[in-house]
């Protein structure tokens, strides 16, 4: 008789994770998944035209930019940091792209990658200041929030700039490659899918959870915490760059006030999606559902004919409700599987 068998007699060992239903109920995303389903049902029953394919596809299109930036923010929040400058960065990079194309005459094929590169670099700078000088990231990126908005206004003289008229460019980022499906929706799908995979299955993803969950344990285990954090900042900056390219392709111009308050929607999506601001918990899939909820509620309020100002109130209540629900789920899953 092997040791394994001897022990198996004494107590039950089950590493399989249990049935699909059990795994689903134990998953951290269960709360947000249930909320999405309920909100979907309410909208489907209550709002005329909500379930129409056109309407759903336009919701998907509207949350594309939110979903892309929130994917990056998920990495940052799980690693225990935050970036409040994504809204300003989004505006600045959109202006930068339009400015390069229209005012400087740089081909859009060069200007677009440059926008992503700028986003990555600004993320790296935010990350290096945060980790090297040990300044809380919300302070560092609050400063960046102000500075980047100023830079966007300076670069554009405070007025919108025309974007690229290159057809291939608009087609790639704002066309509809499939009937009724917008290109930006597909970009979001790709970013979310790759992000979820990287977070859940790669060594980098494991490091992100470890560093955010217990920084000193991660350091003790030989994980280069600072490098992991800087990479999360860089990723968020780069994805914000992608979001700006999509926006310029979509609207055909860049407004220096773009993304004002956007950071709140992004953080809301991540938090509604089950991430804890203390770090160590959260998932890209949860964030995606968080973005969907935000999009669906906004859409439903429009369909219900509710005053636009109520949307803000709804967003606030949504964040509060989500945080309270997550608190309950976290308590429960501490004693269950699949944290």
């Amino acid at each position: 008789m092997t040791i394994q068998q001897q022990i198996a007699i004494a107590y039950r060992v089950d590493d399989s994770g249990g049935s699909l239903v059990r795994r689903l109920l134990g998953a951290r995303e269960f709360g947000v998944l249930a909320a999405t389903a309920v909100i979907f049902l309410v909208c489907a029953v209550g709002a005329d035209g909500f379930l129409a394919a056109d309407n759903l596809l336009s919701v998907a299109q509207q949350i594309a930019i939110l979903g892309i930036v929130a994917t990056g923010m998920t990495f940052l929040i799980v690693v225990g940091e935050i970036d409040l400058s994504v809204g300003s960065l989004h505006g600045f990079l959109a202006v930068e792209l339009a400015w390069l194309v229209t005012k400087v005459g740089v081909p859009v094929g060069v200007a677009a990658p440059l926008a992503i590169l700028t986003g990555v670099m600004i993320g790296v700078i935010n990350g290096l200041i945060t980790t090297r000088f040990k300044i809380p990231s919300f302070v560092v990126t609050l400063a960046a929030l102000a500075a980047l908005r100023g830079a966007a206004l300076l670069l554009s003289d405070g007025v919108p700039i025309r974007g690229s008229r290159n057809e291939a460019f608009t087609h790639l980022f704002a066309g509809s490659p499939l009937p009724n499906v917008a290109a930006q929706t597909l970009w979001m799908a790709a970013v979310v899918a790759i992000g979820a995979f990287v977070m859940a299955r790669t060594k980098f993803g494991y490091d992100v959870y470890s560093v955010g969950g217990n920084p000193s344990a991660a350091a003790g285990a030989g994980i280069a915490s600072d490098r992991v954090k800087v990479m999360c900042f860089a990723l968020t900056g780069g994805l914000t760059g992608l979001a700006s390219i999509i926006l310029v392709g979509w609207l055909g111009s860049a407004n220096p006030l773009t993304g004002n308050g956007f950071e709140l929607s992004v953080i809301a999506a991540v938090v509604v999606g089950g991430a804890g601001l203390a770090g160590g918990t959260g998932s890209v899939l949860g964030t995606f559902l968080g973005a969907v909820i935000t999009g669906v509620i906004t859409n439903a309020l429009v369909l219900f004919g509710v005053d636009g100002n109520w949307q803000q109130v709804a967003t606030g209540l949504l964040i509060l409700g989500a945080v309270m629900l997550n608190h309950l789920v976290a308590k429960r899953s501490a004693h269950g599987l699949n944290a």
Binding site: I3, V13, D14, G17, S216, I223
Partner: protein
């Protein structure tokens, strides 16, 4: 030949000498209890052994070969693993992820979760640690189970000499027994264990030998079979006036 040897180790912090020429050795498959009052120098010695401090003088040998540890990584590469009192576990992550923390096995560039779960279960089974599922987050486990998982990681990541800092502090009586029996299992598998503890009963229960430090020196060494709790306590508090050098406050920075 001893698995680990420290010979004539001295360590000075500014004007005070925390270690004043310490000789310390551990045989393979031996459990050594390292005891001493706060400030006696045992934390400093621990940090020298695990590579966190470099001794000013003296030699460190692993299996007879002299070693210079520039960092805890060097020591780990030599087979020295430390389990600190705070355990270094990531609460939100699974048992398997914690056993492999920072050393996740990879396949085609991706973390091989299947292998990780299987190997984690194997380690737990060998060490007779009872955890219903390696998928459970460690936050949901008891203090004793958490201590065991931290030890399992130390062993799994190649520790031949396992240093345990206060492994039974803050545990209930039953969990203390679980940890002590795990230490016995480690010995059975030929691992050498150094237990730093204030608890004389636990040390006498599990160790082969007790080394007592006082004022930066080894003030006594006893075989557990031939000593009593009273004698060990006497060594710790320093009955002999000559040994009554008061450990300076600089070493009070215990391994947190």
């Amino acid at each position: 030949m001893p698995l680990f040897e420290a010979v004539g180790v001295r360590k000075r912090f500014g004007g005070v000498e925390a270690l004043r020429g310490v000789d310390f050795s551990v045989e393979p498959g031996e459990v050594v209890g390292l005891m001493g009052d706060n400030g006696a120098g045992k934390s400093t010695l621990m940090k020298v052994i695990c590579g966190a401090y470099r001794p000013d003088e003296g030699e460190i040998r692993m299996a007879g070969r002299p070693q210079v540890f520039r960092s805890p990584r060097d020591a780990a590469a030599c087979g020295i693993a430390v389990v600190y009192q705070n355990l270094g576990l990531v609460d939100q992550r699974s048992v398997a992820a914690n056993v492999f923390l920072g050393q996740e096995p990879r396949r085609f560039g991706l973390v091989d979760t299947r292998r990780m779960r299987a190997e984690a279960r194997e380690v737990l089974t060998t060490l007779r640690i009872r955890i219903p599922s390696v998928r459970m987050p460690v936050a949901g486990l008891s203090g004793g189970q958490r201590q065991c998982i931290a030890i399992a990681r130390a062993v799994h990541q190649g520790g031949e000499l396992v240093l345990l800092d206060e492994p039974t502090a803050a545990l209930g009586p039953e969990q203390q027994q679980n940890v002590l029996s795990l230490i016995r299992d480690l010995r059975k598998q030929g691992k050498a264990v150094v237990v730093v503890s204030h608890n004389v009963d636990h040390v006498l229960e599990v160790a082969d030998r007790v080394v007592v430090m006082r004022g930066g020196l080894v003030s006594g060494m006893r075989d557990v079979a031939a000593t009593t709790a009273a004698e060990v306590v006497g060594l710790i508090v320093g009955n002999a006036p000559a040994a009554a050098h008061d450990g300076a406050p600089h070493t009070s920075g215990e391994l947190a």
